[in-house]
Point group: C2
C-alpha cells in the first residue's frame, strides 16, 4: 500500500462540519423548499448554548500572564494539571497523579489520536464498536492497525448499551490488543451498564489488552441513568486511558481543550507524540481549564435539563413519523435516527434535505458501513429551531418513501 492508497481509506466528505465543501451534484429534488432557519445538526450550536461562564475571562487572564502560560511543558502547565487532576479524580473516582497520569491535549480528538498513536503498531488488531465515533475506525487505519468490529444491539434494550460481550471476548481471543469505545456512545447516546463496564474491564485484564474509554459526554447524563466510570473499578487492565474534555456539554470546542488520564507509561508515550504533533494544548487556552468542573452552582443541572427537554420534544416528533425510530438518549446530545426505505440513497437523501429543508445531519455510514438507514443528529441546538428542523426533514423524507404515496404536509 502506498500513501495515496492509505489516505483513500480516510474519507472525510461526509464528516460532520465538512458538508459545506461537498461538490454539488445532480440531485433528484422533489417539491418546494420548506422555509425555516437553517439547523446544522452535525455539531452543537454554541450560540444557542453558550460557553461556560468565565471562559473568556480565564483565557484573557492566561494571555496577559504572558510567557508562563504561552510556553508550558508538553503535558501542560503544572498548576492547570493539578486543578484538572483534582476535579477529574473527584468526578471519575480514579486516582490521578497530575505528574504521572494526566496530559492536556488539543481537544479530546487530540487526546484520542495520542492514545491511539501511543498504542497501535502496524498490524496490531484493534477492536471497535459498531456503531461508534467515526474517527475511531479512521485512526486504526491511519496507524496501520487491523479493525475487529464488535456489534452493539442498542435499539431494543434499555439500562445498558447492548454490546455483544461474547464477540468482544472472541476479538481478544483472536488477538485484539486494544479495545476503544465511547461511553455515552457516539452516535447512539446510550450509556453502558455497570455490568457491561465491569465485563469489559475484566475481559481486557484477562487477555492483557489495552483499553481506551472515550468519556467525552459523561457529564451530561440524564436523570435516572446510572453511569459507571471504568477507571474507578477494582479490576482494570494495566494499560488503560480515559479521555474527556469540555468541548461538548461546556460548549468550549472553539478553544480545543482535551485531557487524557491513565497508565503512567502510556501517558509518557502520549507526551512524546504530542511533542512532535502540536507541542502542547494551546498555551493561553489551557488557562480556560480553570473553569472546568468549576461552573456556577446549578449551571450544569440547568444545561442537562435544557438538553433533556430538546431530546424529549424531538423524540415526540420522531414518534409521530411512520417507520422512524430512535433510542432515547441516556447521555450526551446525540440521537441516532433510523428511517424507512427510501427510493434514493442515504447520502443522496441527506443532500436533498440540506437543499430542500436547510437541515444538516450526519449519515449513519460514518459510524459503521452497515448503517444505511440511519443518520445522527446533535440536538444541542436552539430548542424551537431544532424541533422545526426535524419536522421539515421528515416532511421532505415523506416525498422519498419507497413504494408509497408521499404523505401530505
Amino acid at each position: 500500500m502506498n500513501i495515496v492508497e492509505k489516505f483513500a481509506m480516510l474519507g472525510i466528505d461526509n464528516a460532520p462540519g465538512q458538508e459545506s465543501l461537498q461538490k454539488s451534484e445532480q440531485l433528484d429534488l422533489r417539491g418546494e423548499k420548506l422555509a425555516g432557519p437553517r439547523v446544522d445538526f452535525s455539531h452543537g450550536d454554541v450560540d444557542a448554548h453558550l460557553p461556560t461562564p468565565g471562559s473568556f475571562e480565564a483565557f484573557s487572564h492566561g494571555f496577559f500572564e504572558g510567557g508562563a502560560q504561552a510556553y508550558t511543558p508538553y503535558r501542560g502547565r503544572r498548576t492547570v494539571l493539578e486543578h484538572v487532576a483534582e476535579k477529574l479524580s473527584a468526578f471519575n473516582g480514579a486516582k490521578i497523579d497530575p505528574a504521572q497520569n494526566l496530559i492536556l491535549t488539543p481537544g479530546t480528538q487530540g487526546a484520542l489520536f495520542l492514545a491511539m498513536g501511543a498504542n497501535v503498531m502496524p498490524g496490531d488488531k484493534v477492536a471497535i464498536v459498531e456503531p461508534d465515533y467515526f474517527a475511531n475506525r479512521k485512526m486504526v487505519e491511519f496507524f496501520g492497525g487491523e479493525l475487529i468490529p464488535v456489534q452493539m444491539d442498542y435499539a431494543d434494550v434499555s439500562g445498558k448499551a447492548g454490546l455483544d460481550l461474547a464477540a468482544l471476548e472472541k476479538a481478544f481471543q483472536d488477538g485484539a490488543k486494544l479495545f476503544l469505545f465511547s461511553n455515552p456512545n457516539n452516535p447512539v447516546g446510550c450509556v453502558y451498564s455497570c455490568e457491561e463496564i465491569c465485563a469489559i474491564a475484566a475481559l481486557a485484564k484477562k487477555y492483557g489488552a489495552a483499553l481506551i474509554v472515550d468519556e467525552l459526554y459523561s457529564r451530561q447524563v440524564y436523570p435516572g441513568v446510572k453511569y459507571t466510570h471504568l477507571a474507578a473499578q477494582k479490576e482494570v487492565p494495566g494499560n488503560l486511558i480515559t479521555i474527556i474534555g469540555p468541548s461538548k456539554t461546556e460548549s468550549l470546542s472553539g478553544f480545543r481543550l482535551g485531557a487524557a488520564f491513565g497508565s503512567a507509561d502510556v501517558i509518557e508515550r502520549m507526551e512524546k507524540l504530542q511533542a512532535i504533533m502540536a507541542l502542547r494544548c494551546p498555551g493561553y487556552n489551557q488557562a480556560v481549564f480553570s473553569t472546568w468542573f468549576n461552573e456556577p452552582a446549578g449551571w450544569m443541572d440547568a444545561r442537562v435539563a435544557e438538553h433533556r427537554r430538546i431530546r424529549d420534544d424531538i423524540m415526540k416528533v420522531l414518534a409521530a413519523a411512520k417507520g422512524v425510530s430512535a433510542r432515547a438518549t441516556d447521555g450526551g446530545s446525540y440521537l441516532f435516527v433510523t428511517i424507512p426505505e427510501l427510493d434514493v440513497s442515504l447520502h443522496a437523501f441527506i443532500r436533498v434535505v440540506r437543499e430542500l429543508a436547510d437541515v444538516i445531519v450526519t449519515p449513519g455510514t460514518e459510524f459503521g458501513p452497515q448503517f444505511l438507514h440511519q443518520f445522527r443528529i446533535n440536538f444541542s441546538q436552539d430548542h424551537d429551531k431544532a424541533v422545526a428542523a426535524m419536522k421539515r426533514l421528515l416532511a421532505v423524507m415523506d416525498r422519498y418513501r419507497k413504494n408509497e404515496t408521499a404523505a401530505k404536509n
Copy 2:
C-alpha cells in the same frame, strides 16, 4: 519492534521547554552560584518581545462571534484562509489558491507533523539535514521511515548554508522519497543561498522526490541577507509543501497557529489527517491570523532590528571567549554555539549551567548525535538579561575546561 521500543527512540528529556521536568541527579558543581535573572534560552521570551499588536483583540472578536468561528472546516475558516493565502502569496511569491493549496494547523509543529504524516509510509527513506530541527528526526522515526542524514558544513562559510549537495543527490539516488529542511536553519540560523535552493528543487524534481520546506523564521532575515523562497522558483517538484507560522517572530506561540501550503493532493491528505488528529487549528484562535502580515507599519522592521542588536552583542561576548564560536545568524533568533573540550559531558555541563547560572540552553545532540560540543540558544530575550546570562554561562564554563586552570572571573 513493539510500541515501547518505538517510543524509546523518541526521547524528549532534553527537548526545549522540558528541562524543568528533568530528574535531579548528582552534579559535579564547582564554585559558587552566579547571581542574575534566569534566562531560558530554550525558547523566545514573549514577555520581552510582546505578541503582535491587536492579537488579543482579534481573538476576542473571534470568541464573541461565536459558533461560526468555533466550528470551522478542518482546513480552517474560509475567510481566514483567503486572508492568509493572499498575504503568503505576496510574501513568498508562490501561487496559493485558498481552496486548494492551504491548511491552517495547531502551530507550525502541527503543519510539519501533518506534512510528514501525509508523505511518509513505513520503510520510506527520508533525507534530513544535520544539524536541523530535532523534531524532524523524531517524526521520521514515528512514521516508521528510514533516516538519511545529509551534512551541512555551516561553520566556515557565509552567503550560503553549506549543505552537501552531492550527498543530497546521493540520498535521492539511494531512494530517498522526501527531503525535509528548515530555512533559515534551526539551530544554526543560516540561510540557504539562491543556488542551494535551486539545486535542491532541481534535484527533487529530477528524482521525483517530495520536499517539505520549513520557513518558520523566514520573516526575520537580517539586512544584507538574500532569502530565496523555494516554492516561488520555476523548477519545483510536483510534491512540495512549505510550512510557516506566527509563533516565533510574531510571538504568537501561545495561540498555536501554523500554516502549510503547496501541492493540492498533499494538502488534501493533510486535511484528512488533521480530521483525526485535532480536528482543526483552534477555532477562536484562527481569528488571530487576521493580524498576520498585517502588523502596524514599521513594527516588523523594529522587531528585526531589536533582534539583530541582541545577536550582535551576544556574538561579542562569544568572540571574547577562548575556544568558543558561533556563526552569526542570517535569519531567526538562534545561535548554535561551539564550546571547547570540557571535563564533563555536554549534558552534565548544561545541567550545571542551569544550577550555577540559572541559564537554560538546548544541547547540540538534539539536532544530530554528533553535536557533542554545541548548544543552541534562542536569543529572542530581554537584551540585557540575555547578554548577562551568556557571560555567566561562559564564566561557569571556564571552571570545566579540560586540562586547563579555571580562568578567574
